[in-house]
Assembly symmetry: C2
Homo-oligomer: 364 residues x 2
């Protein structure tokens, strides 16, 4: 049995104005009638999988619970973080809880807000990863790159792991490269996008934290020990968890471990990190537009248009993103999709007339 652990910690600010602090990206219906977290959980159901664990911020507990209810699945354990401390403490908390009953359990850790189009390939990759995990490895998935992306970290493949076809040692993890380096990686064939999906046993993970981040281990162990369990939620001990360092699993363990493995795969994976990515992933009309919700497009080309609870109309624009919600609207060229951040910065800056846009309830 593989236990899926879904980390729902992302803020999705690059998908403003749809994604907000109160309902970030993973809770939005971005690519289908299901939300991103529903899509994610649905990928890890069925034979061979235990009921999933979702780790989320306590403020999102009802959204998560409702979205699991909509999905019609029972038994999800919803673990509440009093504050976000990144992926390291979150997955470690899940590992401690699972280890109380069966430390050898294989955990499959994934973000709640990524897209994967090839589910059969995913199942095959997870099966390989689970074998490597049972052999004691900390396994990551390497996404076969399709472009010289500078927005992802990369993982370089090392020697094959004997006896586990499809699994390799990790030569090294590398941070987001510059364009030239990314092109070299793409050409070399031995580099993969680090999708931030990992597989390991609970015992391996705990041992790795003990070795590489004992302070995190101590805090999270105490937060788990002091947890309170209600009907619908498991609350981590607030003081201990809050005292923990903010650190990703990559930094805390993966980049330091000697037990790393990588399973290369082509999954049609995307981190759905921008409106431009949603345009790439979406079904296009004859003019290359992706339109979602209530929209009117006249002479538009290669646009991403979304009307969420409001009508979004575009005439005569090309390569533009228009995202409309009842209280906020964003328009920008697709190639500047990363600049949503500049809008959020502007919203947080007092205006010449003294008005604070961030005083509008729920605007960010």
């Amino acid at each position: 049995m593989i236990c899926p652990v879904i980390l729902s910690g992302g803020s999705g600010t690059r998908l403003w104005p749809l994604s907000r602090q109160a309902a970030p990206k993973q809770f939005q219906r971005l690519l289908s009638g299901r939300t991103m977290i529903q899509e994610t959980v649905a990928r890890a159901l069925g034979e061979g999988f235990a009921a999933p664990i979702v780790v989320c911020n306590q403020r999102h507990r009802f959204v998560v619970a409702e979205q699991m209810r909509e999905l019609g699945i029972a038994g999800t354990r919803i673990v509440l973080e009093p504050v976000g401390r990144n992926s390291g403490p979150a997955i470690l908390a899940a590992a401690f809880m699972v280890a109380e009953e069966a430390p050898g359990t294989v955990l499959w850790m994934m973000a709640a807000d990524a897209a994967i189009s090839d589910e059969p390939a995913l199942r095959r990759a997870v099966a390989i990863a689970a074998r490597a995990a049972e052999a004691g490895h900390v396994v990551t998935f390497g996404m076969t790159p399709t472009a010289p992306e500078t927005g992802y970290g990369y993982v370089e493949r090392g020697e094959p792991i004997a006896g586990i076809e499809g699994a390799y040692r990790v030569a090294r993890f590398v941070e987001k490269p510059d364009r030239l380096t990314a092109e070299t990686y793409l050409a070399s064939g031995g580099f993969y996008w680090n999708a931030g999906m990992f597989v390991f046993t609970a015992a391996t993970l705990i041992a790795e934290f003990e070795h590489h981040a004992p302070d995190v281990l101590a805090s999270v162990r105490e937060a788990v020990a002091r947890r309170t369990t209600e009907t619908d939620f498991i609350r981590l001990g607030a003081d201990a968890f809050t005292a923990c360092r903010n650190i990703s699993l990559d930094y805390a363990v993966a980049e330091k471990s000697t037990r790393n493995a990588v399973v290369p795969a082509s999954l049609g994976w995307s981190d759905v990190g921008s409106w431009a990515a949603l345009w790439e992933l979406g079904a296009k009309d004859a003019a290359g537009n992706v339109a979602t919700g209530r929209t009117v497009l006249v002479d538009a080309r290669r646009c991403y248009v979304r009307g969420d609870g409001t009508l979004a109309a575009v005439v005569g624009l090309e390569d533009v993103v228009l995202v409309a919600t009842p209280d906020a609207v964003l328009a920008l060229p697709r190639e500047r999709a990363q600049d949503v951040k500049a809008v959020l910065d502007a919203i947080k800056t007092p205006r010449p007339d003294g008005e604070r846009l961030d005083s509008i309830p729920g605007i960010v």
Copy 2:
């Protein structure tokens, strides 16, 4: 005393999504904290002017009354049309009512939704027009053209009228010209934009209708005779008014009359006929943007951005109009501002999935 008659019959569809059937352009705060009809009425207050008459569709009666109340003026007569029948019947109804007491009264007819920036020049032009009207003329104002506009009708100046400096006979009215013709008009110096503002006495207007459109005269006379007067509103007789032809004052009288006069003037007049016109009229920032309401602009140039009850954010766009309201949003290049109509047509067309966008309450 000059009696201002404000015709509030426009639909302002080219300013969708701000302008709607329920609250068209003249009731919107487009250029200042006042609505267009408030700006219009305010131009015709003070010494020498009687309390204004507003003729509007009965469905807009409370909006008009409230906007007059906001303006703090008393005594406005609000005349309600059961249906719109264009400017001819509307101004004639006002003329009949005024003529009951004083047929020699000078009426100044104007649309409720135009912009005029030079009010002293306007007062001077109205004074000249009133003298010509008292001499029995049907007087129009000729706006000195500043560009070869193809969206306006033109009026050609004839001989000066003896004894009334600044007033001329009308050589002819011409419909909206093509570009080449408009350029000829601009170069010739004898042609003016027909702003649809007229001055005449009530008696002259009634006589002109009697001569050129006796059927309209008969219908409107009966509608006025059968009017009911309430505290706040004067309701025209519905059957008679509804039976009347739909006809503009230009068609019914001005283009046929032998008593036409024109007063040329430079008033900074605009019919505010599109979002592009509002950009032209608006105060611009250093990058040439006009921003109104709740807006965020990052690297935008020469854009018109409006957030009405919602936040409108633009990044990196040039020469684009973005108008955002809570239930509908429009984005288009400024030079395609006339194509708002295509959006309205699309809204009224059933969609492939059977959804009718025009079933959304108040969307058009």
